[in-house]
Amino acid sequence: MKLTEQQIERYSRQIILEEVGGAGQEKLLTSKVLIVGAGGLGAPAALYLAAAGVGTIGIIDSDKVDLTNLQRQVIHHTEDVGVDKVVSAQNKMRAINPDVTIRTYRTRVNAENISEIIREYDFVLDGTDNFPAKFLVNDACYFEKVPFSHAGILRFDGQLITVIPEETTCYRCIFHSPPSAGVVPSCSQAGVLGVLAGVIGSLQATEAIKYLLGIGDLLTDKLLTYNALTMEFRKIHLNRNPNCLLCGRNPKITVLKDEEQVICHLKGDK
């Protein structure tokens, strides 16, 4: 593809970067990124990826915008309360950058529908809010060989890792399988600092852009953890786990399956 004059002007601040250039911008415009979840992590990622001119952005979410979302899900505005999140997100991305083709999926991902969606994309961003979905994204990306960025947030903490299936440490290498019911609080119960979602979601978008451009060092085999109170970032070096249920030497998971949804309670809750 050839950049138009308007595109050269719009993207000039990144085209000027030696690592991007006109060729990199063209690459972004022909790339496809899927964002699973139009929530706290998905919101900043969608805005930045659209602004950067990622040519096709898919966004999956089955929910409608709720008043409690607005504290952190910056892609949704007050007037969007009650609107489908994918529609709200699509409107904002289009307003930022009409160059971008937006594909919306108003659905919850499950083992039946996720594979055919993700195989259309070059990179996937996990912005889901529960363990079964996070394991599902990991497993589906592994079977379809699509690289992805995993992230999780809670209270003042966030973490992320980039996974190149069959090559680098996957989410199951670290966490095996979802925790049993009742041990891990969710954001709605434990709370989350709004800007934390912005920090971590923006880092995921950074990884997507680096992957698409083939520049820099990806956050592979490293879990980046961040605490907003101490302002400490740590990179924890990891190795692929030979006992991994999915990508280890003797995998136990050979077909895509849904993990059971656990109902989380804070300690002391009934």
């Binding site: 996070k134 809670l154 973490q159 070096h237």
Partner: protein
């Protein structure tokens, strides 16, 4: 005994198992922790039988399910 826990040197009792370290470090919900010992992720059933040595590098990795 000294070991490096999440990047910081700490003093702990000698010959602790991983399970005992989690108790000594007051980890409230051990089920939400994955443990990496000297670069290798342990299996949960190894927590009770794995005895820590001087200068071991231990990382406690926490389940974080949020995103919405």
């Amino acid at each position: 005994m000294k070991l490096v826990l999440n990047g910081k040197q700490i003093n702990c009792s000698a010959s602790l198992t991983v399970s005992e370290l989690l108790i000594e470090q007051k980890v409230k919900m051990p089920e939400m922790v994955s443990v990496e010992l000297n670069g290798q992720i342990l299996r949960r059933h190894e927590f009770d039988s794995t005895i820590l040595k001087e200068d071991d590098q231990v990382e406690l990795l926490y389940f974080m399910g949020g995103g919405n």
